[in-house]
């Protein structure tokens, strides 16, 4: 009798295991605007699929916590793991943990440092940060020329978090573009970090304004800081028509600012496509399919000319 019961429960357990696919997800942050859209992208795709369950964890910007979460997910027997790394230089340990347990792993949005040496059953879905800063800088350069500043323009630069790969790359992109012949009429007065925060950027811009330097453009590593800068400039009585302001992300707040004529350039990062792309990649790897190890989702330039098609996207 006992043996019969054991056999029944075992077969029941095996059948439930075979039909449902469990994907574990660990996000760097839950309270970040962009990452929330990404997370929703994963969740909505999973909800629309039969037999796919996602378990999403919040690493709270803590590298150690994220590694623990990955180990916990491996221990609870997920079919694949999606990781939005807190620190892109700490991904070797995560890749090693997943590989030794034979669990497929997909990095999303933030480029892992071991991109070229990932094990076969691991992949990366994201957008190339070389595109974001370059698209933004070129467009600002173009708009400055169109405004007649082609013989010399001065700009401020807001850097994101100093240890964040996106911030570092976007800042480098801007410097690279300013170094080209086409755009070397732009000089940078100063560059400082506002940690991707609107309030810090507002205070930083007011600090810069108190030095009284004339300037024509503001580059920002993300939209939140650009909006903070705009608020500070408006409070100081500067007309937004005189300053070209560029951000990255194309958040709702940024698009509203663009419609009001304050923000001039932003770059759309398709969070939802990154999220759903990472889930597709994770499921494919879990089923043993062959997929390209790196999937680039393109950045898209957003200006007042094409803003209408982006209003509902983020």
């Amino acid at each position: 009798m006992r043996r019969l019961l054991l056999a029944l429960t075992a077969s029941a357990a095996m059948t439930t295991g075979a039909t449902a696919e469990n994907i574990g997800v660990t996000m760097a942050l839950f309270d970040d605007n962009f990452l929330t859209v990404l997370r929703n992208g994963i969740q909505e795709l999973a909800d629309g699929m039969d037999g796919v369950d996602v378990q999403i964890e919040d690493a709270q910007n803590d590298v150690a916590r994220q590694l623990d979460q990955i180990n916990n997910l491996i221990a609870s027997g997920v079919d694949a793991i999606i990781v939005n790394p807190v620190d892109t230089s700490a991904t070797e340990a995560m890749s090693a943990a997943a590989q030794s347990a034979g669990v497929p792993l997909v990095y999303v949005n933030r480029q892992p440092i071991n991109l070229d040496s990932m094990p076969d059953n691991q992949a990366f879905v994201g957008s190339n940060e070389i595109e974001s800063g370059t698209l933004q800088a070129f467009e600002v350069c173009k708009q400055l020329r169109a405004a007649g500043k082609g013989d010399g323009a001065r700009a401020y630069l807001f850097i994101g978090e100093l240890q964040n790969q996106s911030a570092i790359q976007r800042t480098k992109d801007i410097h690279d573009v300013m170094g080209m012949d086409m755009c070397n009429f732009i000089t940078l007065i100063d560059e400082q970090t506002a940690n991707y925060q609107r309030d810090e950027a507002q205070d930083l811009m007011t600090n810069w304004l108190s030095a009284g330097e004339a300037f024509d453009a503001v580059f920002s590593n993300n939209d939140e800081m650009a909006i903070g800068a705009i608020q500070a400039m408006k409070a100081a009585g500067i007309s937004m028509e005189d300053v070209i302001v560029g951000g990255v992300d194309a958040t709702q707040d940024a698009l509203t600012a663009m419609q009001a004529g304050d923000l001039d350039v932003t770059v759309f990062q398709n969070a939802a496509a990154q999220g759903s792309g990472s889930l597709d990649a994770a499921l494919a790897l879990a089923r043993g399919d062959d997929i390209p190890q790196v999937v680039w989702i393109p950045f898209e330039l957003v200006t007042p000319a094409n803003i209408d098609s982006y209003l509902a996207r983020n």
Partner: protein
């Protein structure tokens, strides 16, 4: 009969010992830091830090710089006032920053406009219920109520279960941050009404400063001249003696933490109004900055000493440092290291002077 410096706070001058009030030390440190930045400014960038070298303003001062020095520390300064009285009473409050985040999210939800640029508010939390374009008193009351609840919970836990304040407020710190994230599932909440925006942007942008200085004056008077203030210092100096002399210590502690919670909530209203948005990550590390301002301002972490005036000077030191770094165009990577060094140096200096004064007496 001379008053002693200990136990009463405020600007007391002990005539029998010819001892400066502690706050003068901190003001001296502030002046010293300003002079250092002024000198470095002349050497490195050829501009004056506080004075209007380019002749852009009517007065001899660079008014915009003076403005930003105070503005950028006003919001944390409001929190620091609440934290000052908590630490003086012998406790500590680690939850202020998280209360800011949770309150900002919840209050902003009640302060949103119905339409943005002719379209329905894309971030409208209560749009479907029609709770938009509400009179500004509603988000203010809701926000202060959040702070009240959080503060009461802190106070009751600390007073009646006797768990250390560090642990109780640590729990609130984690929980309140969770509430902030849960409230709209991590989505920021934006586009408030003009009335709500006036809280942080009114009076030509001076509103946060006015609120901060106004509260500082109010709480300085409360701590110095009212029974509430005397009891706070007494409990911080010697809790058992205070209890035995008839002070209702437990009730007083609840009141102290409640006030701290409400001040954190008020800071949240100013912050979210100033930025026209509420984000779940707002206020991170604010409690540590607030405690640092208080400690630099002469508040002793073991309780019973300190004053709001000192905290205001501590806040100004922070403001001067932040503006000074931008003024000197200090490389972003060095700024945090140097700021940490200055904080420790200011406290060490203060401790050294107090020890010298105590040895002389």
């Amino acid at each position: 009969m001379a008053e002693t410096v200990h136990g009463t706070g405020g600007l007391t001058f002990d005539k029998s010992r010819r001892q400066w009030p502690n706050e003068l030390n901190i003001f001296g440190a502030l002046v010293l830091i300003v002079i250092i930045f002024e000198a470095l400014g002349a050497l490195l960038v050829g501009q004056s830090f506080l004075f209007d070298s380019a002749g852009r303003f009517d007065s001899i001062f660079n008014e915009q710089r003076l403005y930003i020095i105070v503005l950028q520390v006003s919001i944390v300064g409001i929190i620091a006032i609440g934290v000052t009285q908590v630490i003086i009473s012998g406790g500590i409050d680690l939850s202020s920053g998280s209360i800011v985040g949770a309150t900002a999210m919840i209050a902003m939800s009640f302060a949103q406009v119905a339409e943005v640029n002719g379209q329905p508010n894309p971030k409208g939390v209560f749009l479907e219920y029609g709770w938009v374009d509400l009179p500004v008193i509603i988000p203010i009351v809701v926000g202060l109520f959040c702070g009240l609840i959080a503060g009461i919970i802190n106070g009751l836990l600390i007073a009646y279960t006797r768990i250390p304040p560090f642990i109780a407020t640590l729990g609130m710190m984690v929980t309140a941050r969770g509430v902030a994230k849960w409230w709209s599932r991590g989505q920021p909440i934006s586009f408030p009404t003009d009335d709500f925006a006036a809280i942080g942007n009114g009076l030509n942008g001076w509103m946060p400063v006015v609120i901060f200085i106004g509260l500082a004056i109010l709480f300085h008077l409360i701590l110095r001249y009212t029974v509430y203030g005397k009891h706070t210092y007494a409990i911080g100096s010697n809790e058992d003696a205070a209890r035995m002399s008839g002070i209702k210590v437990d009730q007083h502690k609840v009141l102290v933490y409640t006030i701290a919670g409400m001040l954190a909530a008020l800071a949240a209203l100013v912050l979210s109004s100033k930025n026209l948005t509420a984000q779940a990550g707002m206020g991170v590390m604010y409690e540590l900055d607030a405690i640092a301002m208080a400690v630099i301002g002469g508040v002793s972490l073991s309780g019973g000493r300190g004053s709001v005036v000192g905290t205001v000077f501590g806040a100004l030191i922070f403001g001067v440092i932040i503006s000074g770094f931008t003024f000197l165009r200090l490389d972003a990577y060095y700024q945090e290291m140097v700021k940490g060094g200055i904080i420790v140096a200011a406290v060490v200096l203060d401790q050294w002077r107090q020890r010298r004064a105590a040895l002389r007496a």
